[in-house]
């Protein structure tokens, strides 16, 4: 409220393009957003758990009691105990350590693929929404084509062509999410483009670059931020699916999806082998989803009912 320009206060020297930019794009402020988020217990707990998971992934080698491939043939398929809280696998490796070390793989693929989709998708959506006309037509039809392919299958096909491995998994998941970010950004930009402050800035001769970076993007950002959190959830799921199919990281590198695939073969003798890596996936994905819901409530309440049914 205090940010509003006071008309008539500086009649002597009116700076031509400046008063509006300082007034418009400061909303929503980070502190305010974080404060509101902290008041939503589910989102706050999810955020804390996610920070813990990220810390685990960063300090994985310090935190893991054993190395990823430390084998002990005398401890094959041992049930959970104090020494091995998540039991051991068929090579006598500590499942707890491998779940910790797998966090880095899952999160790295998740974050990098969403970062790729975020940058490319937002850029496409921004151009399409801001310029409209044929730019919009060409870019969004391309996105429609990409969107027509089922996500998992498209990712599998991309990895099949480029070869298995984490780098290609990142690319594949990233490409799958580009059209989603493009659509969300475009819709948001279309709403902002005709706002008075954008038109005012344009009328005093602001360049397209300035309009986009100072006015359009900051005000179109909330739905994109929400989409980022929700996409991280599905990127972790997609990474797990690709690893499970043997199209992600290679053995013996620890990866939650790969551990599930291996544990599946021993499900009747050693339930813990498949249960714990799966729980790690569920907790991570659940937290990203809950945080996404919380962010949506805070940043973009109008979208809540619209998007509630389009989770996948």
């Amino acid at each position: 409220m205090t940010q509003l320009p006071t008309p008539g206060a500086t009649p002597a020297a009116p700076p031509p393009a400046e008063p509006l930019p300082t007034a418009a794009p400061v909303r929503p402020r980070w502190r305010e957003t974080l404060g509101l988020l902290a008041r939503n217990p589910t989102a706050a707990v999810s955020a804390v758990v996610l920070v813990l998971i990220v810390l685990v992934a960063v300090f994985d080698e310090t935190l893991a009691p054993d190395g990823p491939n430390e084998q002990d043939p005398s401890l094959q398929l041992q049930p959970p105990s104090w020494a091995h809280p998540f039991g051991t696998d068929e090579f006598g490796r500590d499942v707890f350590s491998r779940v910790i070390l797998g966090a880095a793989t899952s999160l790295r693929v998740g974050f990098l693929s969403v970062a790729f989709a975020l940058v490319v998708g937002t850029l496409i959506g921004l151009l399409a929404g801001f310029y409209g006309t044929w730019v919009d037509d060409v870019l969004m039809r391309l996105m429609d084509v990409l969107f027509a392919f089922p996500a998992v299958l498209l990712a599998i096909a991309i990895v099949a062509i480029r070869g298995a491995g984490p780098a290609n998994a990142i690319l594949a998941i990233g490409i799958v999410y580009v059209p989603i970010f493009a659509r969300v950004t475009r819709a948001s930009v279309l709403g902002v483009r005709e706002e008075v402050y954008v038109r005012a800035s344009r009328s005093v001769g602001a360049s397209d670059w300035r309009l986009i970076t100072r006015h359009v993007l900051p005000n179109a950002a909330p739905p994109i931020i929400v989409q980022t959190s929700v996409s991280l959830a599905f990127a972790v799921l997609a990474e797990a699916a690709l690893s499970f199919l043997g199209l992600g990281p290679r053995r013996p590198d620890p990866s939650w999806g790969l551990m599930l695939a291996d544990g599946r073969g021993f499900i009747e003798q050693a339930w813990w082998y498949a249960v714990f890596p799966g729980l790690a996936i569920v907790v991570t994905v659940l937290c990203f989803n809950l945080l996404g819901d919380g962010l949506r409530d805070v940043l973009d309440p109008r979208q809540r009912t619209l998007m509630a049914g389009s989770g996948r």
């Binding site: 084509v145 990409l146 027509a148 392919f149 089922p150 996500a151 998992v152 299958l153 498209l154 599998i156 096909a157 990895v159 099949a160 062509i161 480029r162 070869g163 959830a233 799921l237 797990a240 699916a241 499970f244 199919l245 199209l247 599930l260 544990g263 599946r264 499900i267 009747e268 339930w271 498949a274 249960v275 799966g278 996936i281 569920v282 994905v285 659940l286 989803n289 809950l290 809540r304 009912t305 509630a308 049914g309 389009s310 989770g311 996948r312």
Partner: protein, 296 residues
């Protein structure tokens, strides 16, 4: 779209036929496959030949078995359709009562349970849920087989027994998405002016719900159910593999493993087409059942 599917095979690093055949093959086999798949022609001509053949239902031959891709897909399609439809039934059986009850009693215990269940369902990887279902129902309880497939015509009971677990594993995820949707669209319909008017007039609650609320709330459900069916058809890839269900997903996965690119191309094209057709049908159906849209 067809250009993208076509270019799949050309984005492969190296010679796709050599990759598919491995190290031991005769020059004749190689030449025959290369000619049959049209890879010796100029690129533009290749595309038009491929697209022309695809339009008449000829998607080429498998690099591995030599069977036509169309026949391979035809063999697998019924299994995938069965699984997707069964999963949709499971999803609706979960979502409709849960979503409606939680909308009718917001912030009650059932609403909280529904929210937790649907959040969990959205976050759980379907293949992990599959493994857990196998662990409990096949391993611990021994009630159901852990996988496989028998045709309905041979052994109806065995068919049903093998269908239950994969259908539940895929249906729970879709059901969670639909639950959230049913809840929010019911809440929206409950807040409408005409509902309040009907209640004020003294119309019995049951009639208000069926006539004024459900009719409006369930309309958008057609869209989300259609979209979910499209997702289910293609999203069952991993579940099919876990349960050894001989569907299209398994075929596509096998094609990836064997570097059998014509089969992969065919499967991807079919999935994308199914996705488009379902979306189109949903749009048409929606304007048929909602007169407000048809008039616009």
């Amino acid at each position: 779209m067809s250009v993208l599917v076509f270019s799949l095979i050309h984005l492969v690093r190296g010679d796709p036929i050599r990759l598919a055949l491995g190290t031991r093959f005769s020059q004749e086999t190689y030449d025959a496959l290369r000619e049959r798949s049209g890879l010796d022609l100029p690129l533009v001509q290749q595309y038009f030949t491929w697209a022309g053949r695809a339009l008449t239902g000829d998607l080429g031959v498998s690099f591995r078995s030599g069977d036509t891709v169309t026949s391979l897909i035809g063999e697998r399609l019924p299994a995938t359709l069965t699984l997707a439809l069964a999963a949709l039934v499971v999803a609706l059986v979960i979502a409709l009562p849960l979503g409606m009850l939680s909308a009718l009693h917001p912030r009650s215990l059932i609403d909280r349970v529904a929210t937790v269940v649907s959040q969990f369902g959205i976050s759980v990887p379907d293949f992990w849920l599959s493994i857990m279902l196998i662990l409990v129902f096949a391993g611990l309880l021994g009630w159901l087989p852990s996988g496989g497939y028998v045709p309905l015509t041979e052994d109806p009971l065995g068919w049903l027994q093998r269908l239950v677990l994969p259908a539940v594993a895929t249906g729970v995820v879709s059901g969670s998405v639909i639950t959230r949707f049913v809840r929010s669209s019911m809440l929206e319909a409950l807040g409408q002016d005409h509902v309040r008017t009907a209640q004020a007039k003294g119309v019995p609650t049951r009639q208000v719900l069926t006539w004024h609320v459900l009719r409006n709330a369930l309309l958008p459900l057609v869209t989300v159910t259609g979209v979910q069916l499209a997702y289910l058809l293609s999203g069952v890839v991993v579940v099919e593999i876990v349960f050894s269900w001989p569907g299209l997903g398994q075929l596509a996965y096998q094609a990836v493993r064997d570097r059998d690119f014509p089969v992969l191309q065919g499967a991807v094209l079919l999935f994308a087409l199914v996705f488009l057709v379902i979306n189109l049908l949903v749009d048409l159906l929606y304007s048929r059942i909602d007169p407000r849209i048809a008039r616009r």
